[in-house]
């Protein structure tokens, strides 16, 4: 092992065995995507999403689905050993089910590998969140901070680390508050076309710049609120996919990575996101993409905080370092532009359903590729998600319609 710090090591090369079979998404279901879903327990919310996903894919979970992956965290649920609640609502009782304590996109990566390995033909992935059930959300976030060096400070808002990153990013790249506001205004507006976007609206750059600060340098328009939601996706091997659907969406590659983790936030590379870069490189490698330039039709990337969309595009190699805000100015990321970004409205207009966030981004890309692949020269999407403060874990998937 060399003397370099983990912050500097980016993209451990992983070589996938090239002859293994392809993996496709063959169906998806969702439920909720509202600030509150008071009438349903989180289990019923998951059941609804699962039932819709199995109907969409044309499979019976008790007969056809070989294994199940659920992504969730005990603290969010308010239940210890919450993974024991996972099988029942998704039809996984008495069948191989396991839980990933991470983002749903990491669960999608597990399902991808399970099918690639040849041991499973059809795998369901589930992730959900019911933040409206959490009475003391700040307390839960507080418990995620290092108990020795950070938690005792009693920061007034546990999302403050995003502010530290935003200031460092803007200082390094020259991106201004106007650029951040442009991101938020565009995403809020694009969300008006999306039935899942509870927080969409006609908001102007001036509205945003004129609003009071929430966490400097961002206003509340630029920080995604929370949403109750569940997402279930059904993945299948190529043979099974061809049998089940005429329009499979292929999972061409996946990647995930954790930087310093929350036990050493001080060591994070501020204003950068090395975990996203590493996850992207891993996914590109699996997909056989040397450079994403010209190889991607559109992207759904991290935008929980306005600056994050620009940073994500740079770390993913979809914009040069420090170039994203300039490309934003010229309309490169608008619908019909060089690389449409977050046409779904992003999490700024859909909200944050905790661990379901990444799986939701994959859902948006999946639906777009399934319904509108012919809109793109290259019918391929990059999906990139981050687990949110105070973590430094990211996951990326490359989806394609060909």
């Amino acid at each position: 092992m060399g003397a370099t710090h983990p912050n500097i090591v980016v993209g451990t090369p992983i070589t996938w065995v090239p002859l293994m079979r392809r993996v496709a998404i063959v169906g998806a279901g969702w439920a909720g995507f509202r600030p509150q879903v008071p009438e349903l327990s989180f289990r019923e919310l998951v059941f609804e999403a699962a039932q819709r996903a199995y109907e969409d894919a044309g499979v019976d979970p008790r007969e056809d689905v070989d294994a199940f992956v659920s992504c969730q965290e005990d603290y969010w649920e308010g239940i210890a050993i919450a993974d024991e609640f996972a099988p029942e609502p998704i039809g996984g009782a008495l069948r191989p089910t396991y839980t990933v304590a991470g983002d749903g996109l990491q669960g999608l990566a597990q399902a991808y590998m399970m099918i690639k390995s040849g041991a499973f033909d059809i795998v369901a992935v589930e992730s959900h969140a019911k933040p409206s059930d959490i009475v003391t959300l700040d307390g839960i976030y507080d418990l995620a901070l290092d108990p020795h060096t950070i938690r005792p400070l009693r920061a007034a808002n546990p999302l403050f680390t995003a502010g530290l990153d935003a200031v460092a990013y803007m200082s390094r790249t020259g991106a201004s508050r106007v650029h951040l506001a442009m991101v938020a205004a565009a995403n809020k507006r694009m969300g008006l076309h999306n039935p899942r976007a509870s927080y969409a609206g006609r908001v102007t750059v001036d509205d945003i710049l004129g609003a009071p600060y929430y966490i400097y340098p961002m206003t509340r328009y630029e920080v995604a609120p929370f949403a109750d939601a569940a997402v279930v996706m059904v993945l299948a091997s190529e043979e099974a996919a061809r049998r089940l659907t005429d329009n499979p969406v292929w999972v061409e590659g996946v990647g995930w990575s954790t930087e310093v983790g929350t036990g050493a936030v001080e060591y994070h590379k501020w204003g950068h996101m090395p975990s996203l870069k590493a996850a992207g490189l891993m996914a590109y490698r699996a997909a056989g993409i040397d450079s994403p330039t010209g190889e991607v039709g559109f992207a759904e990337v991290e935008d929980r905080f306005s600056f994050m969309e620009l940073l994500s595009l740079e770390e993913l190699g979809l914009a040069g370092e420090g170039e994203a805000h300039k490309m934003l100015e010229t309309g490169d990321f608008s619908p019909g532009g060089y690389l449409p970004v977050n046409q779904s409205g992003g999490s700024l207009s859909v909200g944050v359903p905790f661990e379901a966030l990444g799986l939701w981004r994959a859902l948006e890309a999946y639906l777009e590729l399934r319904e509108h692949a012919d809109k793109y020269d290259v019918p391929r999407a990059i999906v990139a998600s981050w687990r949110g403060p105070p973590t430094y874990t990211s996951a990326v998937a490359v989806l394609g319609a060909q």
Binding site: M1, P147, A156, Y267
Partner: protein, 151 residues
């Protein structure tokens, strides 16, 4: 799925508490030394191949044992933010400045802490110094440093 309580007043909630209030966190080998030093008004770092790392983490990034050393600064703001509202959007009585503060002699890391300064005057590169609690009030916690203030 096809029949749900459709009036908000018909929904009953079950309030609960997660029993996580009482827990002890082991500081670890160098975490303990770091804590003891705080009581003495000193901040420790870890001298590793390539430079000093703050706060010390017992093992260097290359796995070697390293050496605990006192970090004296000067301390500078590497990045900062200003919190105006809590997570629910309630305005704070006064904005809270938080920063990643890095000593000039450290290669990586730093301390995250509160900076007591006029928010309009804070900038990246600003020199700050720790404001310690009186010795008899120190407990070996990061809060033995009350805050950092302009040097």
């Amino acid at each position: 799925m096809v029949w749900k309580a459709w009036r908000i007043g018909d929904v009953i909630h079950y309030p609960g508490t997660q029993e996580v209030e009482k827990y002890v966190y082991t500081p670890g080998i160098h975490g303990l030394e770091f804590a003891k030093a705080l009581k003495e008004g000193r901040i420790l770092g870890m001298k590793c191949p390539g430079g000093i790392h703050v706060p010390p983490k017992t093992y260097c990034p290359d796995g070697s044992p390293g050496e605990l050393v006192e970090v004296k600064g000067p301390w500078r703001i590497a990045t900062f933010t200003i919190v105006y509202e809590d997570i629910y959007g309630n305005p704070l009585p006064e904005p809270q400045v938080l920063a990643l503060i890095r000593p000039d002699d450290a290669r990586r890391g730093g301390l995250i802490h509160i900076v007591k300064a006029d928010p309009d005057t804070v900038y990246i590169g600003m020199e700050v110094k720790p404001r310690w609690k009186p010795p008899e009030q120190r407990t070996g916690h990061i809060t033995d440093i009350e805050y950092f203030e302009p040097a």
